[in-house]
């Protein structure tokens, strides 16, 4: 087991961990904005880690260059998509969730 294998295992495990936390947040959080908060940040970091890990596993070639391109593209696209959805939700009148005591 050399250095690239260890790096690959670490990056893929980190990607799967952040995907899992984002999914738990999406399932357990109480309202739309907090669910978006969980998936928006968690998925972006997890996609980046997984793609870098797969690029390390592939080695130095044209395919790994394309994988790095996908990583850069997702790092630009995912926050923008999250921003667009949250803006649409806010403009259409969704209210943020408050604790029961503050409601009254």
């Amino acid at each position: 087991m050399n250095v690239t294998d260890i790096l690959f295992v670490l990056f893929m495990a980190g990607g799967l961990f952040f995907f899992t936390t984002a999914t738990i947040g999406l399932l357990r959080f109480p309202d739309f904005f907090s669910r978006l908060h969980a998936t928006g940040k968690g998925d972006t970091l997890a996609v980046f880690l997984s793609l870098v890990g797969l690029g390390i596993y592939e080695g130095f070639s044209l395919t790994s260059l394309k994988i790095i391109f996908i990583a850069v593209f997702m790092f630009l696209a995912q926050p923008t998509a999250t921003h667009a959805i949250s803006r649409a939700g806010f403009r259409s009148g969704l209210k943020p969730w408050l604790k029961e005591e503050k409601k009254s």
């Binding site: 630009l76 923008t80 667009a84």
Partner: protein, 152 residues
């Protein structure tokens, strides 16, 4: 009618991304015989880039870049390239789309002529698919306008 988005983040992202998406679509069209893709898929990606421009920058700004007349000319020229290469093969005493007969015209080996013929066909298909797909989207968004005008 599709309005211009008043959000600077989405507009800046579209302005940065659209040229790269179009270059990638040209790559997909050109590499059709080695990797997945080809004329149809590359044309769809080209149309997706223009639809992204239309979603973010509105109908009017897109019409300045790509008017209805340009779309009509592009779609018919794509079909003309496809049918024209086939008919040229017929004239050179081959079957329809028999590319190896193009070797006499281009002065190359028959195998090379077959590769060049497939490339020409894919460019034609890509142009036609891009123009037709964009014109369908264009007609849908213009139909919305006329309905609103009738209401007022």
């Amino acid at each position: 009618m599709i309005q211009k988005s008043d959000d600077i983040i989405i507009k800046t992202l579209a302005r940065i991304l659209v040229p790269f998406i179009q270059i990638y679509a040209l790559y997909v069209i050109m590499h059709g015989h080695y990797s997945p893709g080809g004329g149809f898929q590359g044309g769809v990606i080209l149309a997706a880039s223009i639809i992204l421009l239309m979603i973010t920058h509105g109908l009017k700004d897109t019409q300045k870049r790509m008017s209805e007349k340009t779309v009509a000319i592009l779609s018919s020229s794509g079909v003309l390239i496809y049918a024209g290469i086939g008919v040229v093969c017929l004239i050179l005493a081959g079957n329809y789309l028999d590319y190896s007969k193009l070797a006499k015209l281009l002065h190359v080996a028959p195998a090379h002529a077959r590769s060049l013929g497939i490339l020409g066909i894919e460019i034609g298909v890509g142009l036609a698919v891009m123009a037709v797909m964009f014109s369908v989207f264009f007609d849908i968004s213009r139909g919305e306008v006329s309905q609103e005008d009738e209401d007022e």
